[in-house]
Symmetry: C2
Amino acid sequence: MGGDLAPQAPVAGALLALAELPAEHRIQLVGRSAVVAAELDRLLGGEYAHLAAHRARIDIVDAPDVIEMTDKPTAAIRGKPNSSMAIGIKMHRDKLTDAFVSAGNTGAQMAASQFLLGRHAGVERPPVVTMLPTMKDPIVLLDAGANVDCSAAELVQFARLGAVYAEDVLGRANPAIGLLSIGEEPEKGNAVVKEAHQLLLKTDLNFAGNVEGRDILTGGSSRGKVDVIVCDGFVGNVLLKFYESVPALIFGKLAQAGVSKETLAGAFKGFDYSDYGGAPLLGVNGISIISHGRSSPRAIKNAIGVALRAIESQMDEHIGRRLAH
Amino acid sequence: MGGDLAPQAPVAGALLALAELPAEHRIQLVGRSAVVAAELDRLLGGEYAHLAAHRARIDIVDAPDVIEMTDKPTAAIRGKPNSSMAIGIKMHRDKLTDAFVSAGNTGAQMAASQFLLGRHAGVERPPVVTMLPTMKDPIVLLDAGANVDCSAAELVQFARLGAVYAEDVLGRANPAIGLLSIGEEPEKGNAVVKEAHQLLLKTDLNFAGNVEGRDILTGGSSRGKVDVIVCDGFVGNVLLKFYESVPALIFGKLAQAGVSKETLAGAFKGFDYSDYGGAPLLGVNGISIISHGRSSPRAIKNAIGVALRAIESQMDEHIGRRLAH
């Protein structure tokens, strides 16, 4: 039931995912069962008829409550215990499923994931990860908005969590960590960032130093590429929302100038957020994948792919080990 | 001598400005006099020969020291008292000139402006203004990087200074002020931003509430356009440097896709920083215009235009009055 395009996008995304996943994998669709079943029938009777063979790999789990995108997170989790969010995460906690994926209310997913799954020892505030397309490889940015007013120690924790994510889910060996600041020199930045710089130098992480706003799209500074950029959730959220607003400007201006949609789509291939689908809430016990509220079927499919890579790489276990350092 | 393209850009920019300025205005070029005179001769003997009539409106003031772009600001000002920066600002302090414009070392210009001109009563930390092109009118963003770790009271001061700038230099009546945050609601943001929101509600400013990263390029939120966006210098600097890095990505991708330079230039007319030229360091006594280090002759010309509008609108006096509120 989650996301701006539900139930169509999650149900269609599940079908697309099953077509790519090895045959032993199944998907549980959690939501109002009549609504989900009807949507499944509708899709398999039309546009998705060619995927009908995968219907047998889908279970529908009834969840009568629905958390709206506008509900306050904590109130929603307490007041709607039979939401798809709560039931789906409980199923994961109880090992009935290997991961949980949602495009629903992000705040509610964060609250429910922490409350029901618990956090790894030492993690106070799980960060939200986002993938930023760049001119080179996509970069992991965290925190993308969950935690403002972070301490230096929290930024270091984000770096550790981001490193495991880059290694396990993206397959980057010894990922390079950049600290977002306003100059390359260690003495540039606000008080927290300057302290975090010094703390990061003392870790076993592959710390590449400070990166600036101009280094994001180029995939790193003149000193080398970075895989992960660490910042507090205030800066991360401002930056991410600004980033997401750029295509509308570009496409609008260029369409006015007579450039075709096909040319634009071709030029900016790889800059579509649905390529990434979603990212795990890092630091909770388990795998809770947060997808964009506007997720398309393709984005949901890719989010399920992220979940699979997190499971297969044993990301959750590695996080526990990395935080013990 | 200041800027990455000196002496060519400032000297050529002065010639272009004189061609547009009313006949009573003169320009003093401050720098190594032999170098400046030679550059002036070179330009007037070639590309700028058509502007030779304006040579008589230029004075050359000798300044033997040169502050490099890499010099540490305070050390440069103390150690190079005969730099063009120090001499030019002293001339302004001593009323020998109505404004000072430079594309040189920004930190040195900020330090020298504060030290030599002094600050308006109540201004602790003058903010740097930048103009951000949007899909509607350009927006004033401050602070663009001078002051990190700002208090809520400082953000309110930036709002007051930005309002005067928008009113006087840009001619915006009753400019709308947005506070950069991570949600529209007053309770969204980090601790300082939430406090600043409450303080701004109590001022006589036209406070439009919080704006998010996604509201910048659209020129405001769904609740209306904004003229000024206030943030601390850390966020402002990250955002500005990111913003400045976007064209390289767009132009690169579209050139690869076969879109011509002419189409691109036409589509993004108005998105060229040189349209704005520079902006005053707000809160010092006087008019010290900071231009981008990479300023072209056109950018320098426009920076001189900004200086003229600041003089004619009596911006400096208005700032004193507005801060007394």
